[in-house]
């Protein structure tokens, strides 16, 4: 293969070069801006991670799997997965192979940005080589793959249900421009290469196409216009990219290393949050996943719309969406990019200015201290402090069952908030009042330490999550009752008889997605009876609607959410709905047509 054009230049490359320079420039500018927005310690942490070998490997692997192969999407829906990975990976391979061709055959041209892209225009096949044929074959192969992906993308616009998407977002005007230019890039490339194949050579796709064209159009008049069109389509796509949902392509490549470096959202609009917002591809998977969208009026409160409104800077809507969310975390669980919708919202809540800022630093906890059951004497063996939490005060059935199970297993325990305690701080955290939350956490830590325990047992996953993540209780193991009871069974301290009831387990948001506990409660239930699974379970479990995460959803607005979650649980006809959260249990009980128990109650009935 040899150079066909001595100067190595043709005017039609100009639009492409303009687009490329613009998009690279923009991305560089955005990168610098975001790095500057990061708090200093986060920036250092991030940059350090970029030179840590373990992180580098993880970044490369994640970018390859998530951005190119879209592994998560394959799991969701193979057709959707194929569509995305064919376009992304196919295009990536076309670019890579283009560079390989240039390096192999015309290495002196490698410094031309556009050469690998328009390679077929600039070369002429003089003598057939194995290498050339193989590369041409691969180029045609990947072009075909990309084209199949584009065809699927077109079908998806009218038949999104085939791709497992029920509701999807409406693209904005610029999104449409981006979309149509993206769709046109590869057919135009096919045409351009097809018209040129008798000069440049080609493989199974473009050579027959070239033959076909020449039957009708026996001249080279079509060659240049199609190359121009191809270049123009690329230019349009790259120039609108920063202002469309396609910005997720570069943004995600930054998001992955940032997340691998362990950064968290500190501000709703700056730094990591900005990267997350721009990483949102606007696919709308979160719309169907969001428990609130059972009511049509709530559709526009899904995370994809939050991201859109943040991009547009619509403050009124950002506030509304931020306050309404139940913080169940399902949008993050299903999101292929992993945009942390709940964290964005909590960060937004934290920016709010309050005229009245409570101060708990001087809170006198003596009334709680005086009534607290505590361990006396030197610590020996396991000393369990059971902290029921505020909500469980309203569900004495749960605390009674927990106590009963503990007694049966012969556990040395104290019910430290039998007479009431102070709030764990999680509701304060989710309301975005971090300062007050930390004050409560400090006060509560003192109380718990003073109990003389070495295990803190919790039956409320809301408490459990905050104790696990935010409390510093050295020497005290924090454990949820589902986990602890499972252990008691494993150790043979609790004998469980299998009953004949069928259970379905509802994963509470804070326990499942929030703390990653899925299997222990199921194993407990499997021993106590017959376990069935709801259609949506584990990571995709549907929030009961009672969550304290939502600030604005009123009582009556939650009814439909609860009923939808119940339908999912009861479809398989279980005798009892079992959960492991006092709030879920109370919420479900209002509308359930069958008993709703806490795990402790189910276990208590079957154990000796």
């Amino acid at each position: 293969m040899n150079d066909r054009i001595a100067s190595g230049f043709a005017p039609f490359v100009i639009p492409f070069v303009v687009g490329m320079v613009f998009v690279l420039g923009y991305c560089f500018y955005a990168l610098v801006k975001i790095l500057l927005q990061l708090p200093r310690e986060d920036r250092v942490r991030f940059l350090r991670s970029l030179v840590t070998p373990r992180c580098i490997w993880k970044n490369v692997r994640d970018i390859f799997c998530d951005c190119l192969l879209h592994v998560k999407l394959w799991r969701r829906n193979p057709l959707l997965g194929y569509m995305h990975s064919s376009i992304a990976f196919g295009w990536f391979m076309l670019i890579v192979l283009g560079h390989v061709e240039v390096m192999l055959f015309v290495p002196h041209r490698i410094h031309f940005l556009y050469y690998p892209i328009f390679f077929n225009y600039f070369v002429a096949e003089t003598s057939e080589t194995i290498q050339g044929a193989a590369l041409f074959f691969l180029m045609d192969f990947f072009l075909l793959i990309v084209l199949s992906g584009i065809a699927l993308a077109m079908i998806k616009r009218v038949r999104s249900r085939w791709f497992g998407l029920r509701r999807t977002t409406r693209p904005s005007l610029l999104d449409r421009v981006g979309l149509y230019s993206l769709w046109s890039i590869f057919p135009l490339r096919l045409l351009a290469e097809g018209f040129t194949a008798h000069i440049s050579g080609g493989s199974f796709l473009i050579v027959p196409l070239n033959w076909l064209f020449r039957q009708f159009l026996g001249n080279d008049m079509n060659m240049l216009p199609t190359w121009w069109a191809y270049s123009a389509a690329l230019c349009v796509f790259m120039c609108v990219l920063p202002f469309t949902r396609y910005m997720h392509i570069p943004a995600e490549m930054l998001l992955i290393p940032m997340r691998n470096a362990g950064l968290t959202i500190r501000h709703p609009r700056r730094g990591l949050a900005r990267v997350e917002v721009f990483s949102c591809p606007g696919c709308g998977v979160c719309i169907d996943a969001c428990p609130m969208t059972v009511k049509k009026a709530n559709t526009r409160d899904a995370t994809v719309y939050l991201n859109r409104q943040i991009r547009r800077g619509n403050e009124r809507r950002i506030e509304e969406i931020s306050d309404k969310c139940l913080l169940c975390g399902k949008c993050t669980a299903v999101c292929q990019v992993g945009v942390e919708g709940p964290m964005l919202r909590v960060a937004q809540r934290a920016t709010r200015h309050y005229g009245l800022e409570p101060d708990f630093s001087g809170l006198d906890t003596a009334p709680v201290q005086n009534n607290m059951e505590r361990f006396e004497g030197a610590p020996e063996g396991e000393r369990v402090a059971y902290f029921a939490g505020c909500m469980t005060q309203l569900t004495p059935g749960i605390s009674r069952s927990v106590e009963s199970v503990l007694k049966k297993a012969g556990v040395d325990y104290r019910f430290i908030d039998r007479d009431g305690g102070i709030c764990c701080g999680r509701p304060m955290l989710t309301a975005g009042r971090f300062h007050q939350a930390w004050q409560l956490i400090r006060k509560n830590s003192e109380l718990i330490r003073s109990s003389g325990c070495n295990v803190l047992l919790l039956s409320c996953p809301i408490c459990y999550k905050v104790f696990r993540e935010h409390y510093r209780l050295e020497g005290i193991r924090v454990v949820h009752h589902s986990d602890y009871f499972h252990e008691l069974m494993e150790q043979g301290r609790l004998r469980v008889e299998k009953g004949d009831l069928t259970y379905v387990f509802h994963d509470p948001c804070e326990l499942g997605r929030g703390s990653g506990i899925y299997e222990q409660p199921r194993r407990v239930l499997g021993c106590a009876g017959y376990l069935t699974e709801a259609e949506k379970n584990r990571r995709e479990s549907i929030c009961c609607g009672g969550s304290l995460g939502s600030l604005t959803l009123g009582f009556s607005q939650r009814e439909d959410i609860t009923k939808a979650a119940l339908r999912n649980l009861t479809e398989g006809g279980p005798d009892v709905v079992v959960t492991a959260c006092p709030l879920c249990r109370s919420t479900f009980r209002r509308y359930a047509d069958r008993p709703v128990w806490d795990l402790a109650e189910a276990l208590d009935k079957q154990s000796t």
Partner: protein, 339 residues
């Protein structure tokens, strides 16, 4: 031949209506799901405002039912509207046809275990108004036997005026029932302290206020304005009740030997299900909708269907009996007109 008048429900509304219909020369047929007549009143010991025995009331109604067809222990499996009346299939498989239909289906007592924070079904010290009346009647209740009762509490509005319990309506009779029961307990345990936790005291009927005055003056019953929020068990076998003493504005705690929950009146779900089968209007509160709430309380939106008693809303005993009589008369007139 006389045509059937089918009465759904054999409580006091159904009994009184049947009695009056017989006097008017009609053919009433009572379908009752329990194995005895009398409905909720049969569970009760004494009735306000005169503390007259509930049994006396039923005793007065029963003789008048001779000649009425009564199906006990029977429910209605299906209900159809025909051109000339209504067709019923009963749970025993038999069929009934009636020219007119009277809903005397009454109410359902709120299941107190649904207000879990009050601990009914969890703590032995917590019972309901019905449990207490049954105990007055039978003297049998394992939760009450052999325990000295020195401190007793009553919680008003359990499952009434409570959106969270699914019933925002006032049940009307519980305030008065609580005072009556409080006095009855004082009669048995003169040295007990009795506390009534209320939000509003609604004592509107003849002699009700006298009862209230008597409870304060003669029996020294304490009235605390505040809704109970939580009940917990103490180590010595009592329950601690937490409320806010809204009049002093401070949290309040008291430990009790017995807590009586005044469970409210809910719509009877089986009545609602039957009403749906023949497209009767159901009101927002879940009770059957009368044609109007002044002069047409016993009338429905369908010809030949009449209401009496608590199927259209919470009612006292005298109201129920009065409605039963007026429904009987309306049915009689309806049948005369149809001829």
């Amino acid at each position: 031949m006389k045509e059937n008048v089918i009465i759904l429900g054999g409580g006091i509304a159904g009994m009184e209506a049947a009695r009056q219909l017989l006097l008017l020369g009609e053919r009433p047929v009572i379908v009752e799901r329990a194995d005895h007549l009398g409905g909720h009143v049969a569970d009760w010991h004494r009735l306000f405002p005169d503390k007259s025995p509930a049994e006396d009331l039923l005793e007065g109604l029963r003789p008048g039912l001779e000649g009425a067809e009564i199906h006990l222990g029977t429910t209605v499996s299906s209900l159809n509207a025909l051109k000339d009346g209504y067709n019923l299939t009963l749970s025993d498989g038999s069929k009934l046809h009636g020219r007119a239909l009277l809903f005397a289906t009454g109410f359902e007592l709120f299941a107190a275990e649904r207000k879990e924070e009050y601990g009914y079904g969890i703590y032995n010290q917590v019972i309901t108004n019905r449990d207490l009346e049954r105990w007055f009647n039978t003297g049998k209740d394992s939760r009450l036997s052999g325990r000295p009762l020195s401190k007793i509490g009553f919680v008003h509005c359990v499952g009434s005026r409570d959106l969270k319990a699914g019933n925002p309506q006032c049940s009307k009779v519980c305030c008065m029932t609580a005072i009556k029961q409080a006095i009855e307990l004082k009669e048995r345990f003169p040295f007990a302290e009795v506390y009534c936790f209320y939000m509003d005291l609604r004592l509107f009927g003849k002699k009700y206020e006298d009862f209230y005055i008597g409870a304060q003056r003669d029996w020294g019953i304490h009235f605390i304005r505040g809704r109970v929020s939580e009940v917990a068990e103490t180590l010595d076998g009592r329950v601690v009740v937490k409320a806010e003493d809204t009049l002093s504005g401070r949290p309040l705690k008291v430990s009790l030997d017995l807590l009586v929950l005044m469970a409210g009146m809910l719509p009877n779900p089986s009545a609602t299900a039957l009403a749906r089968q023949i497209r009767l209007d159901v009101d927002d509160d879940g009770f059957l909708r009368s044609r109007d709430n002044l002069a047409g309380i016993i009338a429905s939106n369908r010809p030949g269907v009449f209401y009496a008693g608590a199927c259209t809303g919470t009612k006292t005993v005298p109201e129920t009996l009065a409605e039963a009589r007026s429904a009987a008369l309306a049915i009689h007139n309806y049948l005369q007109d149809a001829k």
